[in-house]
Subunit: 194 residues, 2 copies
Amino acid sequence: MTVERRSSGRPRDPRIESAALEAARAALLDEGWTGLSMAGVAARAGTTKPALYRRWPSLPHLVYEAAFPDEVALEFHLDSGDLRTDIAGIARGIRDLLTSPVPAAALPGLLAEFSTQPELHASLLARFADGFAMLDERLNRAAADGEARKDVTAEDLLRLAIGATLLGVLLGPETLDDAWVERLAETLWRGIAA
Amino acid sequence: MTVERRSSGRPRDPRIESAALEAARAALLDEGWTGLSMAGVAARAGTTKPALYRRWPSLPHLVYEAAFPDEVALEFHLDSGDLRTDIAGIARGIRDLLTSPVPAAALPGLLAEFSTQPELHASLLARFADGFAMLDERLNRAAADGEARKDVTAEDLLRLAIGATLLGVLLGPETLDDAWVERLAETLWRGIAA
DNA sequence: CGCCATACGTTACGGTTGGTATCGGAATAG
DNA sequence: CTATTCCGATACCAACCGTAACGTATGGCG
């Protein structure tokens, strides 16, 4: 997401980047998406708009990187040996990721940007790529063991889990408690079982 | 959504309301959510901003009513006698509603507004209320007949179907073809079966 | 018929934002 | 020492939102 780095010249102050991301997270938490502005984030970070525009092409890009930094990946634990348990783990991981305060605050606005900024959209999808591949492999194993239908794809299953969770985040995250996760996992597991 | 109507004084020109809604739909289609503006819609409708602000409190309210007019309700056909068929009908109805061009263009932006405009959010939910009640009754019947688990709620099932469809709309409506609807229905049906 | 309330179009305003430009000065590579 | 790029500061433009005037039109009600 960061703009390409030139070789010569005065190097960028690395503290500005982290300060801006942290400022964006803080602003997101106590002003919400609508209260965000480039000038506001810059002031919070102790710098100025031009410095931010040198690093991110627009406010949504900055917010995206602040809310979904590279380190935040969706880590599945698909080694319990029990398909039902693994699916519950997936559902819980998605719920935990999407309902944590900063992503939950950023998501509604970011989703609106995705329709006009394909790069952001692609970037977030890539964040799920690892989990996607792991789940795909897990489903193949389950199909081979006769635990799951052969025509169930990781894409379809993930879309169900992510979509249901996303809708919950948009309409009221308080309903996404552990009992909901368990009900979701139960339905998904039964839904894909052979 | 329309502002309360006074009794005396010059009556509102009813043509402005319909012209504005139609203009909003047209603007939505060929400029997208980000290209919308109150002045643009007013110009397209052959009127002016103050006339629009007399009718809707903000642009999102106008767009919401344009994209999801009162007449557009989610009609389920839950009388096929076969639970599997009924669920497929639900999935198809949701897909058809959310992927039609105007709602698909309006949804990303509207979703972002929902987080700060609870009334819009509540209004859209009410649009699903009828279908929700019908499905609830249908699930009770299925549970009584031993076709469905007793602990499956209409809310959970609808959230899965709507969420998966919504995610598809946000990420690329072209994947939501009839085959996808069938796969979704199959998984949901198996997921809730007793 | 006349009054009053409200609508209408037109125009303009204040405030906010996004994003760019310009400037002198500072830091680094070669 | 020079070229290059960054820095903060400030200014700037265009667009937009929402509101406020105006003078005028149009209806209900007494």
